[in-house]
Symmetry: C2
Subunit: 522 residues, 2 copies
């Protein structure tokens, strides 16, 4: 039996009495890794250490923080095949997927390292003094974004590497200059421990302060709530269900000092197929759609759960059915996720006017979800609110639409989502420009002729969107702009050069791009 | 009698039965301007018109929006001395102050017009495709900030022009591309009507959509709450008391779709005088401080309500007393504000260990507030939470500090404020670097050797700060960065050039600064 303790900065801790085990959803048996549930005292220890570390970490240069992120990447790679095996074992996800996700995690660390080495991300703004201005002299004002303090990150079950211990939230917070306390997801605790150890080693090797990173285990909800309530915590990153995200946000807002919870929650990622495109490329779209919605057993935030197509050609329906029947299901991450999936699916099946068009391949494997493609018409869709809500897993509802206007009406009624996709040729897209203009107001990412399940980690990505897709649509949780969730602007008035951060000194020693008297310099 | 109705887009409306009057706080009598209290139906009419207008207004170019803002500035100037007279009459503020504030309001409109003409503010980011990348092709992703929808702005009593109908919140929302509904402050309704008419005329003349601007009157709280609750409203700008700001924020967060309230609320703007500076320039600092804290009868968000100085030299105390006794009070904006001021002052006076050091000049004018300078020691200050809280008006508490460490301890315990000021020579500031590093974590603006009451409207200004100074410290309500309160990022994946906004097209037709594959271009 491998016994795992809390990581609190450079220390380990096991003050609790209760333990839980890593579980293999494929075999249905527990693994030989045990984890102490963290205690409230350990939450306090981690938060205090984090706050102390913040005072040193916030002053680290971009180059130093970049080296830290790169060292984390190196340490993760050093964990080698062992990490992949453990992760596959805990999640039921295939090796290729986990290797790919590891690549993305490493790439994400390196992308933020590049951002930090460049340094311009702080959005430095300098307005110089005019001492002779009338009626009052103009002071010298200099603006930049600074780190806000210790951040709590909740590991997400569906991305055990890329959105977990060293995932997008952690990396963007560390890049901003904020220490991180991760609440490990109980569905992949051994994976979390490996990554947590890698970060701890990287922090020590790169002379980061004790407390820049901590990792707490708990298979219940109490430790997460205590973390969000702790007065030294300044922000929270979360990816998961609407219910859990909303609950954490409510906790954070009811604190004496409310803090932001950046929760990425619920999205059905509607897809609209325009009629000409459907006629010309129906087979390819049907195949692509079936693949996208069953990828990773449908366990993606950007899984396309709704499809709208013009009922001008029933050929497409037949193509969809044909392609979908070829799809595979798979073992879901946890038995609870499977249970929710089956409940949601049963609700769909039980709705009058909703028909089952096709199912994917079945299996008697443990914890196995069978893909399902449902279909309905617009009037049924409009009658039932739950038809537009997310069911996490490999299911989608294809809605037949009678006219262009019906498509626009449906788009107008959509709530907030992470993505919206439109399939159409350029001429047809121009004809449906109104649809695109509606959709850009509903989502964080508008996608043309691609399925939404690929989320590129880059400067221009927006992985976010209006409520209830997230609790804050002014941000993204993927890509370099994610750093601004963990910063705030501050300005300095008439501060002597020697006391200004390098980003704001006249000489621009870091050679960063700045706004100088309202104009871009460099 | 001049009877004023609601402005709802290009229409007027008077569905209500109840009226209220403009009031002169100096004379203590009502003016001959009457105002219908808006009704819930009018809130709905304004919100719906605003949402319709949004679909056109959001597509206006930067140049078109800039021309609209400039036209508003011109129309305000056309109102001439009449505006100044009415405003002085309603607020009790002197002519020079109102003329200065009009200048600031005009300057603010023109600054945002320049921002829009330049166009780079949208933070365009382009990551180009790599179709041959392995294992998966890289799509083309393009990011920019877009307007979020209709915004409600609450006029502030203490800036009847610069933070009211055409004030900072309105201008930044209009610049972002959001229609605005202003809830006029009942302490300057006739001023609000003049500015509202100016905006309406400018909107018509510049071919803006009907509904880009509305103005509702109410001398109670119901209409404000109904506006914040209306489902078509997407954000709120507010400047005022902690109590009112928090109440509106709670309303906004309890909506089915929560929206952000950008409330600038409560700040005592601590000032720290370092010992050497105090010794060498005590007289000038005492004079400057007395002037700053009594300016505009102390009715500024950035009024310095707390002063910390090293008790090494009682000469400074005598200088403070001497300078403060020369100060004038004045007529406060409303009798309620005076009442709160007097209550707060009485609480201070009644606190054991707090002494009255000096008062400013008294007068039997109507609604007159007499300045008061109180003094106490650190242990008394630490014992009573209310001593650190804002009292809106010309009062300050000077706290004698025994050591450098006590100064640091006090700084560490501060809650969030808009500003913190330190007076010190460069060598002494370097010696107190720790103090500066604490303060930058507590406020939006750190000021050296200046008093905080001047707030420069520029690119680099941060008028904001951690809770309870504001409800959102990631933003500013003054300066061009204020625009981001009313925008959110969206990205387009593989969107054809012809359908991209000009900001994101390859050719860069607007010649804006963009992040191109992670590097600044232009």
């Amino acid at each position: 039996m491998n016994e795992h303790q809390q990581i609190i900065g450079f220390d380990w801790s096991a003050l609790g009495k209760n333990i839980f085990f890593s579980y293999n959803p494929v075999s249905g048996i527990y693994n030989d890794h045990s984890f102490y549930n963290a205690t409230v005292e350990e939450v306090d220890l981690a938060a205090k250490k984090s706050a102390r570390a913040f005072q040193q970490y916030r002053k680290k240069s971009g180059v130093e923080k970049a080296a830290f992120l790169e060292a984390i990447a190196d340490e993760i790679l050093k964990a080698g095949d062992h990490l992949v095996e453990i992760c596959c074992n805990e999640t039921g996800l295939p090796k290729g997927r986990i290797e790919g996700e590891r690549g993305r995690t490493i790439g994400q660390l390196k992308l933020f390292a590049e951002l930090l080495k460049d340094g311009s991300w702080v959005d430095a703004r300098i307005d110089t003094a005019m001492p002779d201005r009338k009626p009052a002299p103009k002071p010298d004002i200099r603006f930049m974004n600074i780190a806000i303090g210790p951040v709590v990150v909740f590991g997400a079950s569906n991305f055990p590497l890329a959105f977990s211990v060293a995932g997008g939230d952690t990396v963007s917070a560390l890049a901003a200059g904020c220490p991180v306390i991760v609440k490990a997801h109980a569905a992949h605790p051994a994976t979390s421990a490996i990554i947590g150890n890698a970060i701890q080693i990287a922090a020590k090797n790169m002379n980061m302060p004790d407390g820049v990173f901590s990792l707490l285990f708990d298979d219940g909800i109490q430790i997460g709530i205590e973390l969000v309530k702790h007065p030294l915590i300044k922000a929270v990153g979360f990816t998961g269900s609407f219910k859990a995200g909303k609950a954490l946000n409510d906790v954070a807002l009811s604190r004496p000092e409310p803090i932001p919870v950046y929760a990425e929650m619920s999205s059905t990622n509607p897809v609209f197929i325009l009629p000409k495109m459907m006629k010309e490329h129906g087979a390819a779209i049907a195949a692509g759609y079936s693949a996208s919605l069953t990828l990773g057993v449908g366990q993606f935030c950007t899984n396309p759960g709704l499809l709208f197509y013009r009922k001008t050609d029933d050929v497409f329906k037949a193509l969809l059915k044909n392609e979908f029947e070829k799809t595979n299901g798979g073992t879901m991450l946890t038995s609870n996720i499977l249970k929710s999936y089956e409940t949601g699916l049963n609700d769909l099946v039980a709705t009058a006017g909703v028909d089952q068009l096709a199912t994917g391949k079945n299996s008697d494997e443990n914890n196995y979800a069978t893909p399902a493609l449902m279909t309905t018409d617009v009037s049924t869709f409009n009658q039932h609110v739950h038809l537009a809500e997310e069911i996490f897993g490999p299911v989608s509802l294809a809605v037949r639409v009678n006219s262009r206007q019906e498509m626009l009406d449906i788009a107008n009624k959509l709530s907030g989502h992470l993505t919206a996709t439109v399939y159409g040729g350029e001429d047809e897209l121009i004809e449906y420009k109104n649809l695109l203009e509606i959709l850009e107001q509903k989502v964080g990412r508008v996608i043309i002729n691609n399925f939404p399940t690929g989320v590129e980690v880059c400067s221009a990505m927006v992985h976010g969107g209006p409520y209830p897709a997230t609790t804050n649509d002014r941000t993204t949780s993927v890509g370099t702009a994610a750093i601004f969730r963990f910063t705030r602007p501050v300005c300095f008035q008439n501060m002597p050069q020697a006391l200004l951060p390098p980003e704001l000194q006249d000489e621009n020693p870091l050679s960063i791009s700045r706004l100088f008297n309202g104009k871009r310099a460099i």
